[in-house]
C-alpha cells in the first residue's frame, strides 16, 4: 500500500490532450440489458468537476444521475449494466480502460462516495470503528490501534459527540443523521480529491438534511475537494452548488452555474421543475406539477425525450433530437427553442 499521492502532479492528459479537468466524464453511454430489452440508461453524458467546486446533478428518478455516479466509482452491477461508449478521465487517465488494480486504488483515495441510505450502505455486523479503521489498515498499512485512533479523529471531524466512545457501536445504534455522518467520515478517510454524494440527505429529516449539507459544504471548502452532489431536490442544491447539470432520460438537458440556472432556466424541463417547487406566496393554490411520467427507458420517445410532457412542444420536437448547444459561452441547453428562452427577458 503506497502512501505516495500524486496530488501535486499537473493535471495533464496522457494522450497529449490539453490540460483537462480533475474529473471529466466524456460522452458516457450505459445500457441495462434486461429480459424485456435494452434500457438505454445513459446516452452521452459529459460533465466535469474541478478541485474546490461543487457540481450538482439534478434529475428525477430514472434520469441516470445515480448510474453515472456508480459508473464513475466502478460499482455498476454488470450484468445488467454495461458501458458501451465514452470515457471517464480522472487526472487525465481513463478509468474505464485502466487495469483493475490501478482502478481499485483510485477508489476511496482519488474518488470517494457517500451513499444515500447509510443504514444499508454500512455493514450491519461490524462496528463503525472497524469499518473506518479498515481503510487505514488495508490501504495505508497502519496498525489496528493507529487505524482506530484515526477513525476517532474522523468521527470527531464530522461532529459526532463522544467520538472515540462510539467507535465500538454498530451502525444500527446510530440515529439517521449520525449514521450519515459516519458514512461521510468513512468517505473522507483517505483524503479523496473528488467526493460523490449520491442523494446524501434523501433518507433524513428536513432539519437534519440542512446540517448534513452544511457539513458537506464545509468539508469541501476546507479540503478543496471537487464534489458531485446528486439529488432530485432543488432546494438542497441552491445553497451548496456552484454549477448544476440537469438530467433527463439519460442525457444532460441543461447545464449552467447556479445563479444563471435559477435566474433564467433555458430548458422547458428545468422551467417546469422550478415551477413545481412549493412557494409560500402561492399558499393555498394547487401546486404545479409536471404532467405525465418519466419516460420508460426501454422506449425513449423519439426526438426530444421530454416532448410528450413539454408545454412548448411542437412538431419538430418529436422528429428531431435537439443537440446540447452553448448559450453565451457559459451555459448550455438541449432544446430547439434554447436561443429563444435564453434571449427572453
Amino acid at each position: 500500500m503506497s502512501d505516495i499521492k500524486v496530488k501535486t502532479a499537473p493535471v495533464l492528459g496522457v494522450d497529449g490532450r490539453s490540460a483537462g479537468h480533475l474529473l471529466e466524464i466524456d460522452n458516457l453511454h450505459v445500457e441495462f440489458r434486461t429480459r424485456d430489452g435494452i434500457a438505454k440508461v445513459i446516452n452521452g453524458v459529459s460533465y466535469h468537476v474541478d478541485a474546490g467546486e461543487t457540481l450538482a446533478v439534478l434529475g428525477e428518478s430514472g434520469s441516470g444521475k445515480s448510474v453515472t455516479a456508480q459508473t464513475i466509482m466502478g460499482i455498476l452491477d454488470t450484468p445488467p449494466g454495461f458501458v458501451t461508449d465514452g470515457a471517464i478521465r480522472f487526472r487525465g487517465k481513463d478509468l474505464l480502460t485502466m487495469g483493475k488494480d490501478e482502478r481499485r486504488l483510485v477508489r476511496g483515495e482519488g474518488i470517494a462516495m457517500v451513499f444515500q441510505d447509510a443504514l444499508s450502505a454500512l455493514n450491519p455486523v461490524f462496528t463503525v470503528g472497524f469499518q473506518i479503521a479498515e481503510l487505514f489498515r488495508k490501504r495505508r498499512g497502519m496498525s489496528r490501534a493507529d487505524g482506530y485512533k484515526r477513525a476517532a479523529e474522523l468521527l470527531d471531524l464530522v461532529k459526532i459527540p463522544a467520538a472515540s466512545a462510539r467507535l465500538r457501536d454498530f451502525p444500527h445504534q446510530f440515529s439517521g443523521g449520525m449514521r450519515q455522518r459516519v458514512m461521510i467520515a468513512m468517505a473522507l478517510a483517505l483524503d479523496p480529491e473528488v467526493l460523490i454524494a449520491d442523494e446524501p440527505t434523501t433518507a433524513l429529516d428536513v432539519t437534519v438534511q440542512a446540517q448534513i449539507m452544511d457539513l458537506l459544504a464545509e468539508i469541501r471548502r476546507d479540503r478543496n475537494m471537487g464534489m458531485i452532489l446528486i439529488t432530485h431536490d432543488l432546494g438542497v442544491v441552491a445553497d451548496v452548488a456552484d454549477r448544476i447539470a440537469v438530467m433527463y432520460a439519460g442525457r444532460i438537458v441543461e447545464q449552467a452555474d447556479v445563479h444563471a440556472l435559477y435566474g433564467k432556466p433555458c430548458h422547458p424541463y428545468t422551467l417546469a421543475l422550478l415551477d413545481s417547487l412549493p412557494r409560500l406566496d402561492l399558499k393555498g393554490q394547487e401546486l404545479n406539477t409536471i404532467k405525465g411520467l418519466p419516460p420508460n427507458l426501454l422506449r425513449i420517445p423519439s426526438g426530444c425525450a421530454f416532448h410528450p410532457r413539454c408545454r412548448m412542444a411542437r412538431d419538430i420536437c418529436s422528429a428531431e433530437r435537439p443537440a446540447l448547444v452553448e448559450l453565451g459561452g457559459v451555459r448550455s441547453s438541449a432544446c430547439h427553442f434554447a436561443e429563444e428562452l435564453y434571449g427572453r427577458e
Binding site: 477508489r107 451513499f115 450502505a121 455486523v125 468513512m186
Partner: protein, 302 residues
C-alpha cells in the same frame, strides 16, 4: 446476555425431566421380555427371573422406578445392565467415538460446503455451479446406506478399528455428513447470491478494498449467520450417533449401543443415552442462539 442464558438453562430442567420420563415409559411400553432368550433354548428358571426382577426393582410401579433412576442419576450413577456391566463405562467408551465421528462430519460439512457454496454463489450459472447443483441433488436424494455401502467397496474399507483413530473416521465422517454437506452448500450459495448485491458490499468495493477482502470479510460474515446455526444444530444431532453409518463401518459408537439396548429392553442404557443427548441438545441450542447474537449484533436478548 447472562440473564438470558441463565433463564434458558432453567427452562432446560423441565424439558430434561419430561423427555427422560417419556422415554422411560415408551421403552417399557414396547412388547417383549428382557429375560426372554437369556438362557439359551430353554426358558429361564423362575428363581433367576425373580432374582433379577427383585434386583432391578421391576415390580415397582413405573413412576417409582423412574424416580429411583433419577435419584441414582443425580449422584452420577447410571446403574448396571442386566449383565451386570456398569452403564457409565459403556457410555464412556462409546461417546468419545461418536463425538469424534460427529466432529469429522461437521468439519467436512463446514470446509467443503462453505467453500463450494461461496464459489458457486459468486459464479452463478457457471459450469461449476451446475455441476455442484447436480451433485448436491444426488447427495440429498441418495439414502445414506447406499452411499455408505458403495463407499465401503470403492475404498476397500472393511471396518474401523475398535479405538477408532481419526484417520480411519475420515471416510465414514464424510458419508455421515454428506446430506448436510449438500444442504450447507445450497444454504451458503443462496445467502451469497442474496447478499453479493447488497449495498454494504457495494460500499466495501467503493472503499477500494481488495476483492478477497470484500468477499472474505464483508460478504461472508453476513452470509454465515444461517449456516452457522445449521452447523451447530447438526453437531448436536450427530452426537447422538449414527446407527446406519456406525453399522456399515462397524464403529462402536452410541448409535450401535442404543440400537442394541432397545432390542434387548435395556431401559437403563436407553434412558441414559437419551438423558445425555437431551442435555447436549439443549446446550448446543443455547450456544447456537448465543452465537447468533455474536454474528449479528442487531439481535438482542431479552
Amino acid at each position: 446476555m447472562g440473564r438470558y442464558a441463565l433463564r434458558r438453562l432453567l427452562q432446560a430442567i423441565p424439558v430434561f425431566i419430561g423427555t427422560t420420563f417419556l422415554i422411560w415409559f415408551l421403552v417399557w411400553g414396547l412388547p417383549g421380555d428382557p429375560f426372554a432368550g437369556r438362557c439359551g433354548e430353554k426358558q429361564c428358571p423362575a428363581a433367576y427371573v425373580n432374582y433379577m426382577t427383585e434386583k432391578f426393582g421391576l415390580d415397582d410401579p413405573l413412576p417409582v422406578q423412574y424416580l429411583n433412576y433419577l435419584k441414582n442419576l443425580a449422584t452420577g450413577n447410571f446403574g448396571q445392565t442386566f449383565n451386570g456391566i456398569e452403564i457409565g463405562e459403556l457410555l464412556a467408551q462409546a461417546f468419545p467415538i461418536s463425538i469424534k465421528l460427529a466432529l469429522v462430519a461437521v468439519a467436512a460439512e463446514a470446509l467443503i460446503g462453505i467453500t463450494a457454496g461461496v464459489l458457486t454463489g459468486l459464479r452463478r450459472g457457471s459450469f461449476l455451479d451446475n455441476l455442484v447443483l447436480v451433485s448436491t441433488l444426488v447427495l440429498i436424494a441418495l439414502p445414506i446406506f447406499v452411499i455408505g455401502i458403495v463407499a465401503r467397496y470403492a475404498f476397500g474399507l472393511a471396518s474401523v478399528s475398535p479405538e477408532a483413530p481419526w484417520h480411519e473416521l475420515i471416510i465414514p465422517g464424510l458419508i455421515l455428513g454428506s446430506g448436510s454437506l449438500a444442504y450447507i452448500t445450497r444454504l451458503t450459495r443462496v445467502n451469497i447470491v442474496e447478499n453479493r448485491r447488497a449495498d454494504y458490499v457495494r460500499t466495501a468495493v467503493a472503499k477500494g478494498l481488495s476483492p478477497g477482502r470484500v468477499t472474505g470479510v464483508h460478504l461472508l460474515r453476513n452470509s454465515m449467520i444461517p449456516v452457522v446455526t445449521w452447523l451447530g444444530l447438526d453437531l448436536g444431532a450427530l452426537m447422538g450417533g449414527a446407527i446406519v453409518t456406525e453399522g456399515i463401518f462397524n464403529i462402536r459408537g452410541i448409535g450401535g449401543l442404543l440400537f442394541g439396548a432397545i432390542s434387548r429392553r435395556e431401559s437403563g442404557i436407553v434412558v441414559s443415552i437419551v438423558a445425555i443427548l437431551v442435555l447436549v441438545y439443549l446446550i448446543v441450542n443455547l450456544l447456537v442462539d448465543l452465537l447468533y447474537g455474536v454474528l449479528d449484533p442487531r439481535i438482542r436478548y431479552e
